[in-house]
Subunit: 779 residues, 2 copies
């Protein structure tokens, strides 16, 4: 797997859209900031695997070449960390403007803000519920129409024996629908592909994934997921709901839509990374809540993904959003159709745990190889659309073949739960069980597997179904379509779980105690899903809430725990694999255990470009335009004042006290306003947030370059700093717990010696054989 | 309520036990460190409401007076913060010894540690489950015996008309049992009083409550709660389980018992505050899990109380402990008796929300006044025992009176769930409904209220029962007995909920849709409990898990949310009230909203006693013995090296670069070892943890005082520091998120100017009219 090439699909369009890129201040990909890692003047000890500047130049050359002729491919291996991703700043920038505003605000003002937060969370829940409702109804309607068309066709041709025409119709219909979904995803918004859960995980972790929470993404996501599900792919609509909830939250909390160019002039206080993140976590929770009817599970999902910034009030607000979301969905769906759609009363077993872990790990390994293949060969949008169509056609063909050769006929009793039973070659009053499993939407199939009477499925059907569906689902995840992996996993697990149940019932003498294979289906489903995504707490609650019964929460927990432990032995969870393959600088919960011997001096980036408190405009513009700096925050240093002699000494010693980290964007705003002779206010930053203009968009004349600019008002006068002897775990803890973007490293006399950024910390990770260091690269 | 006197009961014995007090290094209460808050030399701006030294002297005088003659009473008002509580250090002290150990440890070593953590969590769950099982069985047995005795007596005297003798027997029996429980609590371990939940909240918050996690506390707690429940008080055994779980966790994770003088030489790595806290949160979760059969609810309980330090692995470990705990309990109980003890299938309503909030607030206000009264007048152990006996007698009398005048006879059907039905004046085949409600353990009564057929209770019975039980429960909480408030709250709520249900059924024309009053009972119970304790997320899950049905999770959530909002409008939650009344320096989740104008310079304690890196033993001993320092950590400062001239200048400027905060205890160990010419190791600290000996226990001769001591090995070389201009919310965030004990404040040239401790931050709180500042006092 070493040194294959890759193209990063998450933000492949960032390079194309250039200046409009969310927070990307540069005009095109080749001008993006380069990471120059030179040993600090103080003599850095850390030389392990660090890229020299020469390496970087080579890469950039090949990058530029690729843009001219051949498809954009860059050297890639497992041990790479992309420099492309910017960080979000989850630490409030406490500059003078901010502090003044806070000081002016009355007690009542803060109360009102708190109330607005609740209102926004309510809105997030409401809108997320509505979207879930919309997706549900549209999928049902379209699937119904498709079913009618195909069924009539099949019935017509079953008699005359020309089933191949039916197959063709089915495959073409599915492919066409999937094509539509793939086209909007691949050509209009590639970030809307997949479930979106890894991206939301990254966002909550503090990584800016371009366009992940835009309105356009939401629209494409909703459209895409409808097409995928109706197109008969082995996908679910649940994962995308989580992403949708997050987008809704990011939109509503900002009180405007940049895409629609509407600004409602409300919630302006929330226009910064910290507040936005809190709402996005509420949105993700509301999404889970709407997808599974699991409000508590939603809260726990957000918790498992981002607990480091949680507090009690936030927990409650998120809970509120989840609650409203479920309630809205239930309310509107019950208006639409009056049937309770819940799974109910599966029974207790504690069985099938190991299979879940093993099969989950197998799924992940296969999908890993497939993703590597895709990164290498399937990176053009048209190829992606074709692959999606191919999968749709193959899915239809395989299903059809299976159905054709299956002779598992079941009586069409009064209590059957299938909405779309297919008779095929069965006798009147019977339906083809295999056909039903394939022909229904996956949600319905799962429900049937949990619910149906013993004897509804025969073992051969289930075995074949498991096998084929396993590979289809594995192939499908990672396609350029909006799709979730929850429901397919549940379906695979339910199928083999039920199979195990049936087999147990036949081989044991006292078959009656193993009577209900539905129980096994539930446990198998939990095991399979747990083995693939590796969540435990939230997944337990989601399963319990989705099935509406806590009686057997305990076996579900045990199964999920075991599946996680067994699976972790072989390979990571699916989402983590995808995050890793994108070379995202994801910060885990804790620093690698064996990293105490590393200190801030060794991990930091240095030298750091510093600015003076009163600085020449030219210097500022040059600093910001210089893309070879590897950080977007610049410490502002102040000379120690006192007698002339001390001042002189300070200059010689370069004694700078320290070091407020400000972002590139803030300076841009600053420079622009200064040039127009206007006093800059916090409002200016809020209006521009989060799409700050690039420095290149400002024209600075030679006269203006000579002006002096006072940075006092805009700098964060009290940034967090650490001494250079601080151990990596300690730096990591500070950085992660407070959601920092830059951490200034100072020496004993408070001079700036370096800057720790997310990438410096994410480089170190614990491999199979102890601490490993990832390489940094412009991917 | 202003300026009444108080005696702090949580640690009233700390003053008596003196040198043996956990981490209290001083010989008696009057010698405890005094807080001298003088403006810093640099000229502190903060003079608001700060105690001058004169005020303090006056207080201490009155304190000393009180010790001579009259009961120890000190001036107390709402705006006081006690200086008595030490903090725990949830930030690892990364000194040279620690770092060396970590560096030596292999990758496998860390893996083994991780596995031990899981094993410890498993053990915690197992033992907590066993204790719950033990309490349950003993309570059942004893309650059964008591019931038999009283019942036979009543039956004997009902015929001859001498019920007053029965009353007497009942009252005396109850009082005697309660007396036993009150005596062990009041005389042997006062910290075991109440539910223990506020104390565990404080522990997780980082406050050292003396003796809260000792084995003796556990024994007294278990014995006490059995007596309280069997003695017929209006209490539950659930709150104490949470405390018991925490004690088990603190004990098991340390691999030894100081009380029993057994050291198993295992888990030595876990002998520090950070690790211990993680396990204690797992123990608390296991306690909830055992008490309510709610493993997920347990995890959420720990989360709501201490989320700031959470990470994913810890969440999973805590979840594991919870799971094991429930499983153990169920396993052993099912061996003991084979009947499922679950509440099941209440129905959906969303009603009674406002009452819950209002009644909860009323409960809290009444209990607040009562607690003030108790603090003032009922502080001697014998008085406390007498009050407990009085309550027991009154409870018995009131119950008896109610039963006597009640004529609510119900048929003793085949499906009745009462284990102890009382016939009294009812016809044969019937039982007295009121008698049953009072006579059963509260858990059983709650179950009956949820479960029983419509018509089992008549409205008058329920109304009277609610009224009396409300006041009894309110009076009972805060007595010197081990007792929980969960079950009484549920019982009150269930009673008025059922009452509302019955009334609704009678006044509405279509009574059938309001048919099941059990639903109302459930919702009422949730509302009442939510109104009293004000938890939402965890309580929802606990209720759902305890009732075994998620169908109506949504109405429970809505009810809890509303109860919280309504209740918060009037008064805080019960636990917060009790924490506040103890003047505990509890840190809430965030700094008060309006505090941005305060900076570290204003909140910090100064001047700070600093030590040199190489210091004279005499100076160290004097510093540690000097009880007028208001902090237990001492920055170690180092002169800037360089040319002679610079060094001289450094001395004049007092330019000290930094500032490792070390605790008093560490120095004690250090001084002792140095004097015995032995090299100190990390093991020495671990062996002494957490009961470090006081400095007075070390005799230092005049020669020894002249020795020099090198502190390099023991100081935390890279403490977190903040500049003095840092705003309070920023300081607060750093302090709270990282669980610090001391935070060093430095000026621009890295000289130590002050130290921020927990008390400095806890002083500021948001009152009704904006920011208020609490006074610090030796209470």
């Amino acid at each position: 797997m070493a040194n294959i090439t890759k193209k990063v699909s998450w933000s492949s369009r960032a390079d194309e859209s250039g200046a409009a890129g969310e927070g990307t201040p540069l005009l095109n990909g080749s001008e993006q900031p380069r990471h120059s890692r030179q040993p600090s003047e103080g003599g850095s000890l850390c030389q392990i695997g660090r890229l020299s500047t020469v390496d970087l130049e080579e890469e950039i050359t090949s990058d530029e070449e690729s843009q001219r002729g051949r498809p954009k491919e860059i050297p890639h291996n497992e041990k790479l960390l992309s420099l492309k991703y910017e960080s979000l700043d989850y630490d409030n920038i406490e500059n003078q403007l901010f502090l003044e505003e806070e000081r002016k605000m009355s007690y009542m003002g803060f109360r009102c803000l708190e109330i607005s937060r609740w209102v926004v969370c309510g809105l997030i829940g409401f809108l997320t519920g509505l979207i879930a409702c919309f997706i549900d109804i549209v999928v049902e309607q379209l699937a119904g129409i498709k079913y009618q068309v195909v069924k009539e066709n099949i019935e017509k041709f079953t008699e005359v024996g020309g089933l191949s025409i039916s197959l063709l119709l089915w495959a073409v219909l599915n492919s066409a629908i999937v094509m539509l979904g793939a086209i909007i995803v691949a050509f209009f918004e590639p970030i809307a592909a997949g479930s979106g859960i890894p991206q939301i995980k990254c966002y909550l972790n503090g990584i800016k994934i371009p366009r992940v929470v835009r309105l356009k993404t939401l629209v494409v996501k909703v459209g895409g997921v409808i097409c995928s599900v109706v197109g008969g792919l082995a996908v679910g609509k649940e994962g995308p709901m989580i992403h949708s909830g997050a987008v809704v939250a990011a939109g509503v909390s900002q009180g405007r839509s940049t895409s629609l160019k509407r600004d409602f002039k409300i919630f302006e206080y929330f226009r910064r990374d910290t507040e936005k993140r809190d709402f996005v976590s509420a949105g993700a929770a509301a999404g889970v809540s709407a997808a599974f009817g699991a409000p508590v599970g939603g809260v726990l999902f957000s918790l498992e993904e981002g607990a480091s910034f949680w507090n009690q009030m936030l927990t409650w607000r998120i809970f509120f959003a989840s609650m409203i979301s479920t309630f809205t969905l239930n309310f509107f769906l019950s208006i639409y159709h009056n049937k309770p759609g819940e799974l109910s009363n599966p029974g207790l077993i504690n069985f099938g745990r190991f299979q879940g872990g093993l099969l989950g790990a197998l799924f992940n390994v296969l999908n890993y190889w497939l993703t590597i293949f895709r990164i290498r060969y399937v990176h053009r949008p048209c190829l992606q659309v074709m692959e999606a169509m191919l999968v749709a056609a193959v899915t239809a063909t395989v299903s059809f073949t299976m159905i054709y050769f299956s002779n598992d006929c079941q009586p069409l009793g009064p209590e059957h739960t299938e909405e779309y039973p297919l008779q095929l070659f069965c006798a009147d009053g019977e339906y083809n069980s295999m056909a039903t499993a394939f022909f229904n939407t996956p949600e319905r199939s799962v429900r049937s597997l949990f619910h149906n009477q013993p004897g509804t499925y025969n073992p051969l059907t289930l075995g074949l179904f498991t096998l084929t569906y396993f590979f289809l689902a594995c192939w499908t995840y990672g396609l350029a379509v909006s799709a979730g992996v929850f429901i397919p996993s549940l379906l695979i697990g339910a199928a083999w779980g039920r199979l195990c149940g049936i087999l147990l019932a036949t081989i044991t003498p006292d078959g009656s105690i193993w009577a209900d294979p539905g129980k096994y289906a539930l446990i198998g489903a939990a095991a399979q899903l747990g083995g693939i995504v590796r969540m435990t707490l939230s997944l337990t609650v989601i399963m319990v809430e989705a099935t509406g019964n806590v009686t057997y929460g305990l076996p579900i927990m045990l199964v999920l725990m075991t599946a996680k432990i067994v699976g972790d032995y072989f390979v990571e969870g699916l989402y983590d694999i995808h995050i890793k393959l994108q070379s995202v600088p994801f910060l885990h919960w804790e620093a690698p255990a064996t990293s105490h011997w590393l200190t801030a001096r060794e991990v930091m980036s240095s030298p750091v470009t510093c600015l003076n408190r009163i600085e020449k405009v030219g210097t500022i513009v040059d600093t910001l335009s210089n893309t070879s700096t590897n950080h977007n925050g610049f410490p502002v240093v102040v000379k120690v004042s006192g007698s002339d002699e001390v001042l002189a000494r300070s200059l010689i010693n370069h004694r700078s006290l320290f070091a407020p980290a400000l972002s590139r964007q803030v300076f841009v705003e600053l420079a622009r306003s200064r040039l127009t002779q206007r006093k800059l206010q916090l409002k200016d930053f809020r209006d521009a947030y989060p799409r700050f203009p690039p420095i290149q968009s400002i024209h600075v004349s030679q006269d203006e370059r000579e002006c002096m600019m006072d940075l006092t008002e805009f700098m964060n006068a009290t940034p967090y700093t650490v001494p250079q002897e601080t151990s990596l775990p300690r730096v990591f803890k500070l950085f992660r717990a407070l959601g920092l973007r830059h951490l200034v490293v100072v020496d004993d006399e408070n001079r700036v010696v370096g800057l720790v950024t997310r990438k410096d910390l994410a480089r170190y990770h614990l491999g199979k054989h102890g601490l490993e260091e990832l390489q940094l690269a412009q991917t």
